[in-house]
């Protein structure tokens, strides 16, 4: 077989990888904010839950989390009469998002805490409510600080999507494995896949850089 004939199935797989990455990065970003801020909350329940989430998902491997959500959860659901069977895409996105979200939560917490306390005091002196202080003063200053690490996490997430091929999701890694089984042409297939992942990582990095510049545009004013 001609190597160009691999391109169509590999592209299909790449498209799945892109979707997995985009959805799980966005959902993971959401988790990062919810639980990162949750960890800073004064509400002991919210705080405890956030800490537990962060520790569990950072302390276990993505593979185990993925298998747990895809294989173990449905059985546990059955025991209590709930249908917790998810399609592989959903299980994959959720596992990736929860995993990246746990790392992101620590980034959010750190960046929020790094906003100088003088900013907090100025906002208090101007009588902002604690919620408005968070949204209008703290987060706009904290988010640009998070962005470089978020960029790294997003690329990490892209690479991690390869694991979901293990629950028979037809992503790039899965297609590659299929073609290789069929043709035994490991060198060509894996070289192609290598470059495709690398290309996607470059695009993702560029997107995150643009986003970083956008959320921190006030820093560059007049410079």
């Amino acid at each position: 077989m001609e190597w160009t004939s691999y391109l169509a199935p590999l592209s299909q797989g790449a498209w799945v990888t892109v979707q997995l990455t985009v959805y799980s990065t966005i959902l993971g970003g959401l988790c990062a904010f919810v639980f990162g801020l949750g960890k800073l909350s004064h509400n002991p329940l919210l705080k405890g839950f956030s800490v537990a989430y962060i520790e569990i998902f950072r302390g276990t491997s993505l593979l185990v989390q993925l298998f747990w959500i895809y294989f173990a959860l449905p059985i546990m659901g059955q025991a209590i009469g709930l249908d917790l069977r998810f399609p592989p895409v959903v299980a994959g996105v959720v596992a990736l998002a929860l995993n990246i979200g746990a790392y992101g939560a620590e980034v959010v917490r750190g960046a929020v805490q790094a906003v100088p306390k003088e900013q907090y005091e100025a906002a208090t002196a101007l009588n902002f409510t604690s919620r408005k202080r968070l949204w209008r003063i703290t987060l706009p200053q904290a988010i640009p600080e998070m962005m470089p690490t978020f960029g790294n996490l997003a690329v990490q997430n892209l690479k991690d999507t390869a694991l979901v091929s293990l629950i028979s999701l037809g992503d790039l890694a899965f297609r590659a494995e299929q073609i290789r089984n069929f043709t035994q042409d490991s060198v060509t297939v894996y070289t192609l896949v290598l470059f495709m992942y690398f290309g996607m990582a470059l695009v993702l990095t560029a997107c995150m850089k643009l986003l970083e510049r956008y959320v921190g545009r006030w820093r560059a004013a007049g410079r």
């Binding site: 003088e118 900013q119 005091e121 100025a122 906002a123 208090t124 002196a125 101007l126 009588n127 902002f128 409510t129 604690s130 408005k132 209008r136 003063i137 706009p140 200053q141 006030w218 820093r219 004013a221 007049g222």
Partner: protein
């Protein structure tokens, strides 16, 4: 300057206020009053509790004992029948609206333009319309001489300009009491004058109460109705500027003034 000192209607009153950090007593049963419209300057050695007094008033620092009154109402407490209970956040927010603070390090919001620094709180906190807030913001910028900087970001301004924005930002909330904590200490000497000029023009406003901590003794003498000399968390001596600066009674005051007025001796 006015004779508000003689009226018995303190807008600020510290009643045996104690503030400790751990074992360190910073305010030691402090009694202190400021009358409506009065311009008071607090002077004193480093660590004597000057900033702490302002920070307690701005609700940035809690008290350990005693009562602080603002406009006759307890600041850190709420009346519950005849007794006083700790203040709720709602009570604090209500009380805070009477006060504005200018910080030594300006503490402008770096992610907002100069004008936005002035309009954000009026819009978000007071519910003023954006158009109205911008109008008022531009008026304030005119007052501090910075209309041409409205759309710049704080980091594009000099320290003196930033502090003038800091003053305008506090004024935008229309406080009755303005607190200044060493507003010129972080500035290069050549930028001090422009900030003092703005504060001087505020001192002419009869209704505005001003509480100023500064090491600018000549300026304090010009604008203050009263000077309070703080030492070890208490008022060691207070009086009209001419009394304190020309004929201080306390040895501590004399030593302090000598040290700050001719530091080379």
């Amino acid at each position: 300057m006015n004779d508000a000192t003689n009226t018995r209607d303190p807008i600020i009153k510290f009643d045996k206020v104690v503030k400790r950090f751990g074992d360190h007593v910073v305010l030691d049963e402090l009694d202190f009053e400021v009358q409506r419209g009065e311009k008071v300057t607090i002077i004193g050695p480093s660590g004597s509790g000057k900033s702490t007094v302002l920070r307690i008033l701005m609700t940035l620092e809690e008290i350990n004992d005693g009562v602080v009154y603002v406009g006759g109402e307890p600041l850190w407490h709420q009346r519950k029948g005849d007794s006083l209970a700790p203040a709720s956040e709602q009570h604090l927010r209500q009380m805070r609206s009477q006060l504005g603070m200018v910080f030594q390090q300006f503490n402008l919001f770096p992610h907002m333009t100069v004008l936005r620094n002035l309009t954000e709180a009026p819009v978000q906190v007071l519910g003023v319309s954006k158009a109205e807030a911008r109008k008022r913001g531009m008026e304030l910028l005119e007052m501090v001489g910075l209309t041409d900087q409205a759309n710049k970001y704080p980091h594009q301004l000099s320290g003196g300009q930033q502090q003038r924005v800091g003053i305008a930002r506090a004024l935008a909330m229309r406080p009755k009491v303005m607190l200044f904590d060493e507003p010129t200490s972080a500035l290069d000497p050549e930028l001090v004058g422009e900030v003092l000029n703005v504060i001087r023009s505020l001192a002419d406003e009869h209704d505005l109460t001003m509480l100023l901590v500064t090491h600018e003794m000549h300026f304090a003498r010009q604008v203050s109705d009263r000077i309070c000399f703080f030492d070890q968390g208490r008022i060691k001596e207070q009086g009209k500027p001419e009394e304190i600066f020309t004929a201080p009674k306390e040895e501590r005051t004399r030593a302090f003034l000598k040290a700050v007025l001719d530091p080379d001796d």
